[in-house]
């Protein structure tokens, strides 16, 4: 009975198939064919590399010449002939056995040798040991880190701060955390190498404007605005940033922050301010370029600084609104994937902040000394002073270049060596010449600290003048 029913049902099904309308059958036929074609398709990548024939491959292999792993360099390359410092690089520095006055280390506030800081670091060393042995996410967060972040945020009058364990990595991690592919960054041509590496890592569109030239920046911003009006949907998903430094390391100039804030609100871009050289230097209380100009700190979206200059510690920090800084806790590559700052250095930085808060008079003192040596070094034959008068790190460049960079460097090195013989420790500004986007001309970088007395400053200026006169004329 069951078999008969099944057979009969099958007949009915076949009958139903015959009686179905044509479009049904056609559709189902197409679908079955499509399924079969899909099941038998091979996987393939969409963009195939152009295939080379075997002969072409052999040819290419034959003509390839390997470059040497270590390129040939001359014996007097500066990286091979470095000066050896014995003892701390404080005010009196012992270079190659000779005692000199230090005009090269970025020890602006003289906190490197400070006994209070040393005591705080030693106490921390006894309590925590030497290293942190872990990133911030994996048992690398100590109370000193949270303390230091808190203190920095309070000092800079922002909502939150985040610590990095390496000064170079601070801005190089902060920029790619916010700016991604398809975003636009307007950056000064003379930005320091760390900013350049951060921009490279961000994969964004970089638009360089002439150094400190607000007209050029406005031109670029206007061009971008015209592009945006042509394609408003794209503009809605594009983020725009302006990256500037407070005091530029490569030129000693200060950025015109009030105009930048005006441009920010006019063209709707965010400002990232790199304050490595101006933190602890500019402003009434050392809060940097925003205090110097009297600008509300909330107008600046992100302030990044390294603690290796004024604070005489290691590492760096970013500060700003909580909404901005919190993002870096998961996206800042240098924060998540590097070991955290050794606690003793964090304790040293906290003590340095204490000292800065207790005597705010040192900033005015530093400013006086800068202006003094700036004035004293004017009018050297053959060298010109490049940098603001209140910038503690400025450059001495050759007035008339010899024509080749190598010769300029050699000349300046002669001056530096002679000054070293006369107990003035100077250095040339060094760059990775092939990697820099805008290579500054060779220069001697002079650094002023609060520990240098007025007599020492006058003496150093006189020494440099004599040496320059002897060598350049």
């Amino acid at each position: 009975m069951a078999t008969a029913t099944e057979q009969w049902v099958l007949v009915e099904m076949v009958q139903a198939l015959y009686e179905a309308p044509a479009y049904h059958l056609i559709l189902e036929g197409i679908l079955i064919l499509w399924i079969i074609r899909l099941l038998f398709s091979k996987t393939y990548k969409l963009q195939e590399r152009s295939d080379l024939t075997v002969k072409e491959r052999e040819e290419l292999i034959e003509e390839w010449q390997p470059e040497p792993l270590v390129p040939p360099i001359s014996k007097d390359h500066p990286a091979l002939n470095y000066n050896i410092v014995s003892g701390p690089p404080s005010h009196n520095i012992v270079v190659n056995g000779k005692e000199c006055i230090n005009f090269a280390s970025f020890n602006f506030l003289g906190l490197l040798d400070n006994p209070r800081i040393k005591a705080a670091a030693l106490a921390s060393l006894k309590k925590y040991g030497v290293g942190a042995c872990g990133p911030r996410g994996f048992y690398g967060t100590f109370d000193v880190h949270l303390d230091l972040e808190d203190r920095l945020a309070k000092f800079m009058k922002t909502e939150e701060a985040i610590l990095y364990s390496y000064g170079f990595a601070t801005i190089a991690s902060a920029i790619p955390a916010y700016s991604k592919r398809g975003d636009i960054v307007f950056v000064d041509k003379a930005a320091c190498f760390a900013i350049q590496k951060g921009l490279q890592a961000s994969r964004s569109d970089i638009k360089l404007f002439k150094h400190n030239d607000m007209a050029d920046l406005e031109r670029l911003l206007k061009e971008q605005e015209i592009e945006d009006q042509k394609n408003p949907r794209k503009a809605r998903v594009t983020r725009r940033f302006i990256v500037v430094e407070g005091l530029y390391m490569n030129t000693g100039a200060i950025c015109p922050l009030p105009e930048l804030v005006k441009l920010k609100y006019k063209y709707k871009a965010r400002i990232f301010l790199e304050e490595s050289l101006s933190f602890g230097v500019l402003g009434e209380h050392g809060r940097g370029v925003t205090e110097h100009y009297g600008i509300n700190i909330d107008d600046i979206d992100l302030i990044s600084a390294n603690m290796e200059n004024s604070l005489a510690s290691v590492g760096g920090f970013c500060c700003g609104r909580s909404f901005v800084i919190d993002h870096q806790r998961l996206s800042g590559q240098g924060y998540c994937f590097s070991a955290s700052l050794p606690p003793l250095l964090a304790a040293a930085a906290i003590e340095a902040l204490n000292i800065m808060e207790e005597n705010p008079g040192i900033f005015a003192l530093l400013k006086e000394k800068c202006e003094q040596i700036h004035k004293a070094l004017q009018g050297i034959s053959g060298l010109k002073v490049v940098g603001e008068s209140f910038s503690p790190a400025f450059h001495l460049q050759l007035e008339n270049s010899t024509g080749s960079r190598e010769d300029d460097v050699k000349l300046l090195q002669e001056i530096v060596n002679q000054c070293m013989n006369r107990s003035v420790a100077l250095t040339q500004a060094r760059y990775l010449e092939r990697e820099e986007k805008w290579l500054p001309p060779p220069s001697i970088r002079v650094v002023v600290t609060v520990e240098q007395t007025e007599e020492e400053l006058e003496e150093a200026a006189a020494t440099i003048k004599e040496v320059a006169q002897a060598i350049l004329l």
Binding site: A16, P21, L31, L38, T43, L46, R181, G182, R203
Partner: protein, 185 residues
């Protein structure tokens, strides 16, 4: 990439459809949707089938072909920001097993829907009963005609349209294509 394992996948969206149990979950989900729709007393069987198709294809279109980017931050600085999930699958390699599965499954769903939308009796048993009834009335021509009611073309058109809307974006020729600039940024 499977759930609950540590992986170093740059963009997990590319591997999620290959994860263990994903296909089964998807099939069960579609089955659940269909059973829920069948349970609603107002819908007849063809309506339930067509609704399953439409809802499934709509969901598939929105999640695979409309929404762009990733819900998480990727270490490649936003390479997939403007790509839909379908374009991100397997890093753009065409005709992988996941892609084949997700192309075939709406076809099978729609094929079943079309087969069932003709107002024919939904089970073989019902078919047999109706046959017997018809045989008793001795009017087989009427029986055959009653197979195809006037709702059939509507269902057919709806099913086919939603199937096309979900099959055409999956073709490799349409990888990265944004017609009329819709959904480009």
């Amino acid at each position: 990439m499977n759930v609950g394992v540590a992986h170093s996948e740059v963009n997990p969206n590319t591997r999620v459809m290959n994860s263990r149990g994903m296909w089964l979950t998807y099939a069960l989900g579609v089955g659940l949707l269909h059973i829920v729709l069948l349970s609603i007393p107002f819908f007849s069987v063809p309506v339930a089938w067509t609704l399953t198709n439409i809802i499934h294809n709509l969901g598939m279109y929105v999640f695979l072909h409309a929404v762009k980017g990733t819900p998480f931050e990727t270490p490649d600085q936003g390479k997939a920001r403007l790509l839909t999930h379908w374009e991100q699958l397997d890093y753009g390699v065409q005709f992988t097993s996941s892609r084949k599965f997700f192309t075939i499954s709406p076809i099978i769903l729609v094929a079943s829907g079309v087969l069932n939308s003709s107002k024919r009796p939904s089970t073989m048993h019902q078919l047999v009963l109706e046959q017997r009834r018809m045989k008793n009335t001795k009017d087989t021509r009427y029986f055959l005609a009653s197979f195809y009611t006037k709702y059939d073309p509507t269902h057919f058109i709806l099913n086919t349209a939603s199937l096309l809307s979900v099959l055409i974006p999956k073709m490799p020729q349409l990888h990265g294509v944004r017609i009329f600039g819709i959904n480009k940024y």
